[in-house]
């Protein structure tokens, strides 16, 4: 692991720059109420190639609030390494002052008060303004979309991704890779991909029957930019058929396919690529391992795990860029490529403060047109919250506490399970909860809320299985989500133990009794990967619950005790 200081030194040696990061510290400016769009965009154009990275937008067309996690544990070599530091540790590592715009954008503390001060983030119309400004500096900049774009809102669900395709096409990406898009079903994915005016990438998207590269998706695309031959290789989320329902896209197989990646790098180098960029949906730790195992990748644009980092992480000669989620950030990467190799890098993670950045008028109009048929449904107020509702964190978040409460009361269950996904915006205390807000944290093509009986032993097995997908020390065996959220039951977890030994002291909260492995409990949950799951849609269950409650007030959740971190 290379420390930040090492990185800066290496970078300076490579590029003769005063530092590779252009991430500003705007605390004083903001205090003076003078933070402007120009300051957010300020960037001295460098080198001869520019990349623009957006990823994991999760269909958030409009500005939202998004609270970053307070706990994000790294395992093995990644223990305590970025992105596995949060809060004050994160601010200290990057020299970010408390209460500054960067603190608001990148850390969780004082979220409610900072959000009230700095306002919402994201919005594709604001992202369009930033992208256009970069293109004004560098007209041939490559815009690369890391995927998880066609999922995550009511309009996206009801139009089966069409709203996002329409708006993204207006932003004119040069290439894209994929994850949740496939949960639209392979037929719809194929249809949309065939319609795209840019290339769909994934060196690891294979035909499941023949175990050969899938025809519709290309492993890489060669571009010529600033007189430089640039290869962009794609990597879709490797574990789609495991983390998401395989039956929805049975024709496709994925996997990490490191050997094939090595071959693709060699192939593009053989074709004269002077710069090799990997547009990845691996997740950050998987990208780190891939960078250390596969030579010849200059830049990895990393997605999936929703991390936002103000500086690139250098592994060997590979710079890894993490650009956040839900439309909160756009990354600009300027590169100096000469004599067939990358000589220097300059990078800026641009936070999309929606009150500071002027929306692009054309894209704003296009977004409103997508939403117009659903506007009345979206805006309907269902209830109000006195508590901050957020999702991110390894073990629980208040949104999932609320969803689990809804499952237990609406479906008359002992225990509730909510999947450990990382998407879904936050709602501030005092805000009304609209139907759109509920769909933003629940919408998916397999949202049926099941109710079934499980033995204590089976529940334990599920927790151990999911725990290993998160806390296996080898990143190639991780799937990049968080722990399944549990309502109605507490447990202890020692993350340092192997699978089968991490979870102990499972307790039924309503009685305080230990969970009996042989006894049967009624469990309600949603997002089962099994075909034929029956039940009402989760967003209806949550809406009914919030309606009955009127005003949501949640107690702090202390039901998971974590050790071994």
């Amino acid at each position: 692991m290379i420390s930040r200081r090492d990185f800066l030194q290496v970078s300076m040696a490579a590029s003769a720059l005063y530092g590779a990061s252009g991430f500003g510290n705007w605390g004083r400016l903001a205090a003076q109420q003078t933070l402007t769009q120009d300051q957010l965009l300020e960037f001295e154009t460098f080198g001869n190639v520019s990349l623009i990275h957006v990823t994991d937008i999760h269909a958030q067309l409009k500005p939202i609030y998004f609270r970053e996690p307070s706990i994000n544990l790294g395992m093995g070599d990644n223990k305590g390494a970025v992105p596995h530091i949060t809060g004050a540790d994160f601010r200290k590592a990057y020299g970010i002052s408390d209460g500054s715009p960067s603190a608001y954008a990148l850390t969780y503390d004082d979220f409610t008060s900072l959000a009230q001060g700095y306002g919402r983030v994201g919005g594709l119309d604001r992202m369009a303004t930033v992208i256009n400004a970069i293109r004004a500096d560098r007209p041939d900049a490559l815009l690369l979309d890391g995927g998880d774009t066609w999922h995550g809102s009511m309009t996206c669900h009801k139009t089966e991704g069409q709203d996002m395709v329409n708006v993204m096409n207006a932003l004119a990406p040069d290439a894209m890779t994929f994850h949740w898009e496939f949960t639209l079903g392979s037929e719809r994915v194929n249809e949309l991909v065939e319609s795209l005016p840019f290339t769909s990438l994934g060196q690891n998207i294979f035909d499941a029957e023949w175990d050969e590269p899938a025809e519709l998706f290309k492993p890489y695309k060669m571009f010529e930019r600033g007189g430089v031959k640039v290869a962009v290789i794609g990597q879709a989320f490797p574990y789609m058929p495991i983390a998401n329902p395989r039956w929805m896209f049975p024709e496709y197989s994925f996997g990490i396919r490191e050997d094939n990646m090595r071959e693709m790098v060699a192939e593009v180098r053989g074709k004269g690529a002077e710069l090799v960029v990997l547009l990845s949906h691996n997740g950050f730790d998987v990208d780190k391992k891939m960078a250390s195992n596969v030579d010849g990748i200059d830049v990895i644009l990393s997605g999936h795990t929703h991390d936002a980092l103000p500086e690139p992480v250098l592994i060997g000669k590979t710079h890894i860029i993490a650009s956040g989620s839900n439309g909160k950030f756009v990354s600009r990467i300027d590169l100096d490529v000469r004599d067939g190799e990358m000589k220097g890098i300059k990078h800026k993670l641009i936070p999309i403060f929606s009150d500071v950045i002027t929306p692009d008028a054309d894209v704003a109009k296009l977004i409103d047109a997508q939403r117009a048929p659903y506007e009345a449904e979206l805006k309907e107020v269902i209830g109000k919250t006195e508590s901050l509702l957020y999702r991110r964190g390894n073990f629980n978040g208040s949104w999932d506490d609320l969803i689990c409460d809804a499952l237990i009361s609406e479906r008359e269950a002992d225990i509730a399970m909510s999947p450990g996904v990382r998407w879904g915006p936050s709602i501030l205390p005092g805000q009304e909860i609209t139907r759109e807000d509920i769909w933003n944290v629940t919408s998916m093509s397999y949202g049926e809320a099941y109710r079934s009986e499980m033995t204590g032993e089976f529940i334990h097995t599920i927790l151990e299985d999911v725990g290993d997908n998160l806390f296996n020390p080898d990143p190639y065996y991780q799937q990049g989500g968080d722990m399944v959220r549990i309502g109605g039951m507490g447990y202890k977890i020692d993350v340092s133990k192997p699978q089968g030994e991490r979870i102990t002291d499972m307790t039924l909260l309503k009685t305080g009794e230990k969970i009996d492995p042989a006894k049967t409990y009624v469990v309600a949950g949603w997002a089962s990967v099994n075909e034929g799951t029956e039940g009402p849609q989760i967003w209806d269950v949550v809406e009914d619950h919030i309606k009955k409650q009127g005003t949501i007030k949640l107690e702090p959740n202390n039901s998971v005790q974590v050790t071994g971190a």
Partner: protein, 138 residues
């Protein structure tokens, strides 16, 4: 094909019962290796085994082996009740010594390939393949 909820849960439970703990290398796997090598020393390397890190479907896991100069390659799923998957034999005129197949894995376990080289030496490669319930992807 559609499953009722009960069928689905039954399937889930079946999968889980198998995937709970990494399976131990069975005595049968050791015996199969001993029979193939005649007890000779086995070196690491010289053979490539390609298998997924996590199986997309434990019932049909693609696997391939490649060992330049091999006369035969033994492929074992060491945690299966019956570990033997295949033995590939290559004639003198074979253009390459590689093969692909699919195997069923009872649970998370090591897959092992051993190549018998023309000079009588043996080479080994192993890979852990995880079989999981799934769900909960970010």
């Amino acid at each position: 094909m559609t499953f009722s909820r009960r069928d689905t849960l039954a399937l889930g439970a079946g999968a889980v019962a198998f995937s709970f703990m990494p399976f131990q290398v069975s005595a049968a796997a050791d015996e199969a290796i001993a029979a193939f090598t005649g007890g000779a020393e086995v070196a690491e390397g010289g053979i490539t085994l390609t298998a997924p890190e996590i199986a997309e479907n434990g019932n049909t896991v693609p696997v391939s082996v490649d060992a330049s100069g091999a006369m035969s390659i033994l492929l074992l799923a060491t945690g299966n009740p019956t570990p033997g998957v295949a033995t590939f034999n290559f004639g003198e005129l074979a253009g390459s010594q590689s093969a692909s197949t699919r195997m069923r894995l009872a649970g998370t376990q090591d897959v092992v390939a051993i190549a018998k080289m023309a000079d009588g030496s043996f080479a080994r490669a192993a890979s852990t393949v995880k079989v999981t319930i799934g769900g909960c992807g970010g």
